[in-house]
C-alpha cells in the first residue's frame, strides 16, 4: 500500500502544484487539532503512525483503543476511534473486557512505562498470559512524563530524574526493568518487537509492525506487544534533537531494537 492511500479527504493548505502528486498528508483518522504533547515528543509520532495504519487498513469503525494514565491520557482527543480511558495500570484489564465482549473488533492499549510496567505489571503479565487477542503499544521513555519527570521502572542506570537526583543507582533502585523480554517468554504472546521513532527509517519500521499486529489480531493468533523506545525532551531536559541522540547513545543499549518474538509461518497478506 502506498501512503497516497491514507488520504480520506482533501486537506491541503493550497492547491497541489502543476505536475506534482500528493505523496503524504496527515491521516484523516488523526483528529484535526493541534496536540498538546511537548515539542518533539515520540508520543505524537506514534499516534500519527497508528492512525495512518487504521486509515490504510480501513479499520476506523472496527478499532477500539484504551488510553492510559500518563502523558497520553488525552489520546482520545487525537485518535478518531472509539476509546476508553482506563484507571492507572488497568488498561489491559479494560481491553480484556472490551475484546471479550466484542471479539471481532480490533482492540489496542496504548501505555506508558508506569502504566504497563509499574502499577499495571500484574495486568500486563496476565493479559499476555491469557493470550488475549489484542495489541499492546508500550511507549518506553524511561521516565514519568505526565507527573513531572520521576523515575520509571525502565529508567536506565545513571539517568537523572526528579526522584533519582544522583542518577539511578543499582543498590537503591534496582536494574531497569526489561518487561518486553519477560512478556516474550509467555506462550500466549505471538509477537514482541521493539522499535523507535527517532529516525525516519525507524518510523517506517514501526508502521510495518503495527500493520503486522492488526493482521495477527484478525487471525486471532495471540497477543502482540510493540514497544516503542521513545524520547521525553521535557523530562530529560534536552532539546528534541538532543534527546533523540541521547536515546540512540544510551537507551538503545538497554533496550535494543528488533523483534524479540515473531510468529512462526508467514502472516503477510
Amino acid at each position: 500500500m502506498t501512503v497516497q492511500q491514507t488520504q480520506m479527504k482533501n486537506r491541503h493548505d493550497g492547491p497541489p502544484k502543476e505536475g506534482y502528486e500528493l505523496v503524504y498528508e496527515r491521516p484523516s483518522t488523526l483528529v484535526d487539532i493541534a496536540n498538546r504533547y511537548c515539542p518533539g515528543c515520540g508520543h505524537s509520532v506514534v499516534h500519527r503512525v497508528l492512525m495512518e495504519v487504521v486509515a490504510e487498513l480501513d479499520l476506523q469503525s472496527e478499532t477500539i483503543g484504551v488510553a492510559p494514565v500518563g502523558c497520553a491520557v488525552f489520546a482520545y482527543d487525537y485518535l478518531d476511534v472509539d476509546m476508553q480511558q482506563a484507571a492507572h495500570g488497568r488498561a489491559t484489564a479494560a481491553a480484556t473486557g472490551i475484546k471479550r465482549m466484542l471479539p471481532d473488533k480490533y482492540v489496542f492499549t496504548y501505555q506508558g512505562d508506569g502504566d504497563l510496567a509499574a502499577i499495571g505489571t500484574a495486568e500486563t503479565i496476565h493479559t499476555a498470559n491469557r493470550g488475549e487477542n489484542i495489541l499492546i503499544i508500550f511507549i518506553n521513555n524511561g521516565i514519568y512524563g505526565m507527573t513531572g519527570g520521576q523515575m520509571a521502572p525502565t529508567t536506565i542506570l545513571g539517568a537523572q530524574t526528579t526522584t533519582t537526583p544522583e542518577g539511578r543507582q543499582l543498590a537503591q533502585h534496582g536494574n531497569p526493568l526489561n518487561i518486553a523480554d519477560m512478556i516474550a517468554l509467555l506462550p500466549g504472546v505471538i509477537y514482541v518487537t521493539r522499535q523507535s521513532v527517532h529516525k525516519a527509517a525507524n518510523v517506517r519500521k514501526l508502521k510495518k509492525t503495527f500493520i503486522k499486529s492488526f493482521q495477527l489480531q484478525e487471525l486471532q493468533r495471540g497477543l502482540c506487544f510493540v514497544e516503542v523506545v521513545s524520547n521525553c525532551p521535557a523530562g530529560w531536559k534536552m532539546t528534541p534533537v538532543e534527546s533523540n541522540r541521547w536515546l540512540e547513545e544510551h537507551m538503545l543499549a538497554a533496550y535494543p531494537l528488533g523483534d524479540l518474538k515473531t510468529p512462526p509461518g508467514d502472516v503477510s497478506r
Binding site: E62, D82, M83, R90, A93, G97, L102, R130
Partner: protein, 380 residues
C-alpha cells in the same frame, strides 16, 4: 408455574444473573462468595457468556469497566477486602456512567477479618466507597429468593440509570440454602440500547469516549451536577423497603438483610410479651427510606397525624452504621437505640429482645452499646 429449586444464596444469584442475560462475569475467589465465581465458570460459558477468573479483584473490576463500556451486561462479585480493592474503579465506573452489577458478600472485618457474616461495609456501600461524589444503588437481600430477584432488578436499574448497582449480601445469605423460583424474564425485552458504548466508530457518528477525566473544573462541575440530578431521580423513584406489623407499632425495629430476618423473630417474641413492636426493613440502602421511616416515627405534618413511634432500635452486625441514617431520618425527635454484634458474630433473637426490654425498662444500657436516651428526655 415456575419450578421451585433448593439453592445456596451465592448460586441462586449467579443463576439469576445468567437468566437475566449476563454477558460477562469477571471475578476472583474470596470466601464466602467463591461459589458464585465457580457457578459462573461452569454455567455462564454454556449460556454464551464470558467468564474470566481475573488475576485480582483490581483486574476483575477493571475488566467490568472495559466490558461495560463496550456495551455488555456485566458483573463481578467479591467480599469486603476485595470490594475495598475495587473502590477506585467503582468511582471511575460511576463517573463514566457505566452500568454494572457488583455483589459484596460482606464478611467480618476490618482487615482480613473473618469469613463469617457481618454488615460492616454499610458505610462503604452507601457512601460511595471510593473517592468523589457518587453513589452506588445498593440493594440488600434478606433471603435466597431476594438474592435471585435482585440480580434481575440490579441489572435493570444499572441500565436504567447508567450507574453501578451493588447487591450487599453477607456470608450467611451467601451460604444458606432456601427455596427459590426464577421468573419468566426475557433479557432482550429488558436490555436497553447503548449508543454511547465503544463498539467501533461508524461513519454516521462521532467517536464514543468512555472517560472520567475532565480536567477543566467547569466541565467537571457539570459532570457532577449531572450525576447529582441522577441521584435525586433515584432517590425519588427507587426507594424500596418492607414493613412488618408497623400499623400499630409504637416501638420500631430497623434492620436490613440477615438482621432483619432475626428481627422478624424479635417482633414475634415482643408481641407475645405484649409489646407493640414493628419492623422496618430497608431493601434499598441507597436510596435509604428516610421518608418512610420519618412518617412512622414523626407522623405526617401536613395531615396533622402524629408519629406513633416512641423508640427505635436499630440492629446491625457492625459497630453502628445504618443507625446514623436512622437518626438522620428522625432528626433527633425520637430516641434511637442501637444493638450490634461485630466480627462475624450473629445476634440471636433472644438477645436482641432482651436488649429491647432493657431499653424499655431501665432506660439505660449495660455494656458498651450506645443506649437510647431515657424516655423522659423525649422532646415533644
Amino acid at each position: 408455574m415456575a419450578d421451585i429449586l433448593l439453592m445456596k444464596g451465592n448460586e441462586a444469584l449467579a443463576r439469576a444473573a445468567i437468566l437475566a442475560g449476563c454477558d460477562g462475569y469477571f471475578g476472583y475467589p474470596i470466601t464466602p462468595q467463591s461459589e458464585l465465581l465457580e457457578y459462573m465458570s461452569r454455567e455462564l460459558p454454556r449460556a454464551g457468556g464470558v467468564m474470566i477468573q481475573a488475576e485480582s479483584e483490581l483486574a476483575a473490576i477493571n475488566m467490568v469497566y472495559g466490558a461495560a463500556g463496550a456495551g455488555g451486561r456485566v458483573m463481578t462479585s467479591s467480599s469486603s477486602p476485595g470490594i475495598s480493592l475495587m473502590q477506585e474503579c467503582l468511582s471511575y465506573i460511576a463517573s463514566a456512567e457505566l452500568p454494572c452489577l457488583v455483589v459484596n458478600v460482606n464478611r467480618g472485618g476490618p482487615g482480613l477479618g473473618t469469613i463469617q457474616p457481618a454488615q460492616g461495609d454499610y458505610f462503604q456501600a452507601t457512601r460511595g466507597g471510593g473517592h468523589g461524589d457518587y453513589h452506588l444503588i445498593v440493594l440488600a437481600p434478606a433471603s435466597v429468593q431476594e438474592m435471585a430477584d435482585f440480580a434481575y432488578l440490579g441489572f435493570d436499574l444499572a441500565d436504567k440509570y447508567r450507574n453501578p448497582v451493588m447487591i450487599l449480601a453477607d456470608g450467611a445469605l451467601g451460604q444458606m440454602m432456601e427455596k427459590v423460583t426464577f421468573p419468566d424474564y426475557d433479557p432482550q425485552q429488558h436490555k436497553l440500547p447503548k449508543p454511547w458504548a465503544t463498539t467501533g466508530k461508524t461513519p454516521d457518528r462521532e467517536r464514543n469516549i468512555i472517560t472520567s477525566l475532565h480536567i477543566e473544573p467547569e466541565k467537571m462541575e457539570q459532570i457532577n451536577l449531572r450525576l447529582q440530578d441522577k441521584y435525586r431521580r433515584v432517590e425519588s423513584e427507587e426507594v424500596r423497603w418492607e414493613e412488618v406489623q408497623t400499623e400499630d407499632a409504637d416501638i420500631l425495629l430497623v434492620a436490613y438483610g440477615l438482621t432483619a430476618r432475626i428481627c422478624r423473630k424479635v417482633v414475634e417474641l415482643a408481641r407475645e410479651a405484649g409489646r407493640q413492636v414493628g419492623l422496618l426493613r430497608p431493601v434499598t440502602l441507597y436510596p435509604f427510606p428516610y421518608k418512610a421511616l420519618a412518617r412512622l416515627a414523626l407522623g405526617v405534618p401536613a395531615s396533622g397525624s402524629p408519629g406513633q413511634v416512641r423508640l427505635i432500635l436499630t440492629v446491625e452486625m457492625n459497630a453502628g452504621q445504618m443507625v446514623e441514617d436512622v437518626r438522620l431520618a428522625v432528626e433527633g425527635r425520637v430516641p434511637v437505640a442501637f444493638y450490634g454484634r461485630m466480627g462475624g458474630m450473629i445476634p440471636s433473637p433472644e438477645e436482641v429482645f432482651d436488649y429491647l426490654e432493657k431499653q424499655l425498662g431501665a432506660g439505660g444500657a449495660e455494656g458498651g452499646e450506645p443506649a437510647a436516651r431515657p424516655l423522659e428526655e423525649v422532646q415533644p
